[in-house]
Subunit: 630 residues, 2 copies
């Protein structure tokens, strides 16, 4: 096994070295001439001047009659002037003024007389009610300097100025070469070991937002000859080439060598996390970038490097990211080895913006789907404490932050269903939900970081759910319980129950999968263990923690564990058998300040709607209201 | 001539009536299924759940060897554990874990021994260095609720979750029918009376930003049969139909009758300016909107009505416009009859955002090309005084406002040339220039509304330019003169000088075109008139005012006037003869606070560059520095 190592170049140095090299190579857009009708969104390559005036003739500005203004002089209420048919020509708005006329009288100001004559009671000035030549645009005037993004109105002005073709910057064609022996095209039915190739779809979406053309090449195996042929072909057709995966320094990581064979590797390894194993190179004067295979790493490199590469091609200044200041909801620990990029979700609660870090794994594309922003933690920072003010780069529309209902706490799929129902009915806000367990909900409400949170906390003394916890943690009030649903908790096992599990006591003799500390289901597990006299140490898999019911079900279905506690709806999705253990109450803890908030009210209205009840029934394992324990 | 009248329905009532009717008709998007690979930017029609887990198998999280964790228990520096080839399998990142293994040891932690054995110095936990099934996404989890705009990352997550096809909202097809006898396709050489059809290009650009498909139908003449056939065809093919022009109540305005013939007219005439003569109707359950022919009117109706019609189709909440607060630079008078839409340019100067109203004519598309924002003046407001705080709807990126050099004052095309040079060299700011005449520049600098302004003000006592004016208006300093250029002023006349003009005294016997009050050229004109003993009353066309040199040249070329004062470069563009009258100094008045501002410095550096000198030489009429009077 061969060992090679990556650089750990700080991002600013990596960028400087790469972009300076590209500049030295003369990397820049060519120009092309396009029909102005299709030029919207394009960037002018040079200043554009009006070819004709607009209007290009003297045009009537209204419906009326064109006259010689001098023929109307002296007209007044007392001394009307009579115009004979020879004195005027009927014109509509936009009609050219007949020769010899220099003004228009509005149709409303004419008093009809016999024989086509009319009286007027006031004079018109020369050029009154006339759009004179060049009123809007004069021939020779600069309509747009070079480097202007053509808006719809600018395209209109260019056409009005007789500019039917416009010289614009060519868009770069960015070639994407997905590589890897195990990579397969998107499918709903991948074989074991197949990795679905979705990165090129993500890259294409990003690149098209940055005004690039994208060409996705076929998936290429980890074979030096094939890879070289693919890169040569991409260099023939494209202005920028991205090689997806193989950018690290492992056994099958050929990207750096490949670029070196055809050009120059400028950087291999950047001090950012995720995103470290990136290759920045050049061949034939064109940038060739090796992107990490992990989607989150690749997205960070796309955003930090590829975006600016496209900007450099266009010769435009990189757009500074929009930012928002907020309060960190949960501490972040960071390494001094890297600049770290932490995805966060955002929501406004009271006057402050709550910033919640999302899972940080490089492989977790789902963390980006929930990300409203990116918190960049400096290399020389070891971490940020909860409650500190932070500045976040926005990934969402800023107005969205104000219109967010923050739901946190215990995981139940019903929250997503309510969220969908609210969207369906056009609710003017969105729901951001995170899974931090029932105790996490108590902490979040206490700290003013969420509007409401799902809890199902068993008081092992009384057998009553939730109430004693709220009394204990909110001795002076500030939060109330709003009744949620009753649901059945049970042990999920593979179809046919191969391990023959009968009751909770059996968990001691099989492989278990647990929930994370603070989860209501974890507390239930601990209670049941103690009730059955089982020590956690005797449970194989007690340390194997998942964050959701479906996470537990997925591992049992995959055979990573034999059983775990969870709700029926999760078992049903994975076609697992279910051994009921108890019924419990899943409630919502609500910050009293927001009890009457329209978003909170709408949430509970949706929860109690018939549509929601029908969904819960279909999912299974929820109790009719009258059977819900309290 | 037939007289018909329009309603004057306030905008909120017009919208309410129209949109309620459309809702009652069941106007809404259908859905369609698209490949997820091409779904970026689309809106989900219903909640999407993961079809498989991601990863869908237990995958190695790094390059190393897969083992049974139990086989490593007890390993330490003192008690290394030896793995034989039977104990491990080499795996790369992403490889599936072989059956019987449940952990991965990193390649760096292996100590090679002979015969393919290795030692390890520490144990691994079950599932360590493994991406377990569902680590990212669990089958059955909701990836996106309905109504979600699919970002690149969401498309990636859908594909990772095995969702290869996604049900999304169909985009509306919006048909545009350009109408009018005089309308012609874009051309650089229109005949007199031809009106270039550019509105459909503007509308298409706007609609595509709002996620609609656009179909532009052929230009249709003002003929009831042809128009009816065109509308019927558009209704067959489209979800929304826009009829461009003919929406008023004049002789050739058929839109309202046309809609009435095939459906219902809900509103004809809205109390907005520009934009009043709009028709809001419905036929076959589809919105049919008659847009005014004047581009600015049409853009306002597009923005206020058509945008929301598209939003209604998608079932999405209309996006609230971004706004910025600023100080009005010039008073606005407004009518109580309408809500008025005033285009404004924006720029930050010191701590305040300066809001400059642009020309307000409904036909002036160029006013939209310079518009950074829109000031909406309420119907019950008679006007707003200069210096008042106003809230402006943004039409540009907000960060642009901070990076704006505001140049105002006298018109000279060299300002546009400098602007283009700055763009060419990638200056990190833009130039906003407005033409308000030399006296306007003095007012603007005095009021802190511009960084610098062009002036050429003749002191008729001393013959010296600019200095005495600045002394008079800035007795306590605050502004300084920075040398600009010398240039020749003269009388422009048609080629061959058909009126035989020899000197300025001849203006008394021909048709003159003047510049606006406050312009340096106007002051020069008045001085020359008085010097020649000519009364303004004796000058035919003294009241005919233009704002730019090219504006004057255009009218002389069109025959609207015989002569006017201006600079040589304008005469050259229009192929006019030029009778020099005097040389003058065109300087820049600069607010001293901004003299060292990097934008101001860059402006003057560009002005004094060789590239600029070359351009001025080509334009003609500018003096070499040594010949410039002072």
């Amino acid at each position: 096994m061969k060992h090679r190592y990556l650089d750990n170049l700080p991002l600013p140095q990596a960028k400087a070295r790469f972009f300076q090299h590209l500049r030295d190579c003369g990397f820049a857009s060519k120009t092309e001439t396009v029909s102005t009708v299709n030029a919207c969104g394009r960037i002018t390559a040079k200043a554009v001047y009006a070819a004709i005036c607009a209007p290009h003739y003297n045009a009537s500005a209204m419906d009326g009659v064109a006259v010689r203004a001098a023929a109307t002089f002296g007209a007044s209420e007392k001394t009307p002037v009579t115009l004979t048919p020879a004195d005027y020509t009927v014109v509509d708005t936009g009609d050219p003024l007949p020769d010899g006329t220099d003004a228009v009288i509005m149709v409303e100001d004419l008093i009809d007389l016999p024989n086509g004559c009319c009286n007027i009671l006031s004079a018109v000035r020369p050029w009154q009610n006339v759009r004179q030549v060049g009123e809007d645009i004069c021939m020779g005037d600069m309509i747009a300097p070079c480097g202007t993004v053509l808006t719809p109105a600018l395209c209109g002005a260019l056409l009005a100025g007789g500019v039917t073709e416009t010289e614009v910057l060519r868009r770069p064609t960015v070639g994407i070469i997905p590589t890897g022996d195990e990579i397969v095209a998107p499918t709903a039915d991948p074989a074991r070991g197949d990795i679905i190739e979705f990165n090129s779809t993500v890259f294409r979406g990003m690149l098209e937002r940055w005004d690039a053309h994208v060409q996705v090449f076929p998936i290429t195996k980890d074979n030096k000859t094939l890879l070289r042929a693919a890169l040569e072909e991409a260099l023939r057709q494209c202005d920028i080439v991205l090689i997806s995966a193989g950018s690290s320094a492992g056994r099958d990581d050929y990207t750096a060598d490949l670029i070196r064979a055809l050009g120059t590797v400028l950087v291999h390894g950047i001090a950012i996390k995720p995103g470290k194993p990136a290759v920045l190179g050049e061949a034939q004067g064109k940038p060739v970038i090796g992107l990490p295979g992990y989607p989150v790493s690749a997205i960070v490199v796309m955003d930090e490097i590829v975006r600016e590469t496209v900007d450099l091609y266009f010769g435009r200044a990189p757009k500074a990211p929009q930012t928002v200041d907020g309060v960190l909801a949960k501490q972040i620990v960071s390494s001094l080895k890297y600049t770290e990029y932490v995805r966060v979700s955002l929501g406004k609660i009271g006057e402050k913006v709550s910033v919640s870090p999302l899972p940080r794994g490089a492989g977790v594309i789902s963390s980006f789907t929930k990300a409203d922003g990116m918190l960049v933690v400096d290399q020389n920072c070891e971490g940020i404490a909860a409650g500190e003010r932070v500045r976040v780069r926005l990934l969402c529309e800023p107005e969205l932050i104000d219109k967010t209902l923050i739901v946190t706490g215990s995981h139940d799929p019903l929250i997503d269903e309510v969220r969908d129902l609210l969207q369906q009915t056009g609710a003017p806000f969105r729901v951001n939900s995170t899974h931090v367990g029932s105790m996490g909900a108590i902490y979040a409400i206490k700290s003013g970081l969420a509007h409401l949170g799902g809890i199902h906390l068993l008081d092992t003394e009384t057998g009553v759910y939730n109430e004693s916890y709220v009394k204990k943690h909110f001795p002076d009030g500030g939060a109330v319980i709003v009744r949620g649903v009753g649901r059945v908790q049970g042990l999920m096992v593979k179809k046919g129950n191969p391990c023959g599990i009968q009751s909770f006591a059996d968990v001691a003799r099989v492989r278990y999968v647990n929930r994370q500390r603070g989860a209501g289901t974890r507390i239930l597990c601990d209670y049941l263990l103690s009730k059955n006299g089982i020590s956690p140490n005797d449970v194989d898999g007690y340390e194997n923690e998942e964050f959701t019911h479906t996470g537990v079900a997925a591992l049992i279905a995959a055979g990573n564990a034999d059983t775990g506690l969870g709700i029926l709806s999760a078992a049903k999705i994975y076609d697992l058998d279910f051994i009921p253990v108890c019924t419990e109450t899943y409630d919502f803890l609500v910050d009293v300040r927001y009890l009457e908030d329209p978003m909170v009210r709408a949430f509970f209205a949706a929860l109690r709607s018939d549509a929601c009840r029908a969904r819960l029934e279909k999912m299974g394992g929820y109790l009719p209201e009258e059977e819900t324990p309290c």
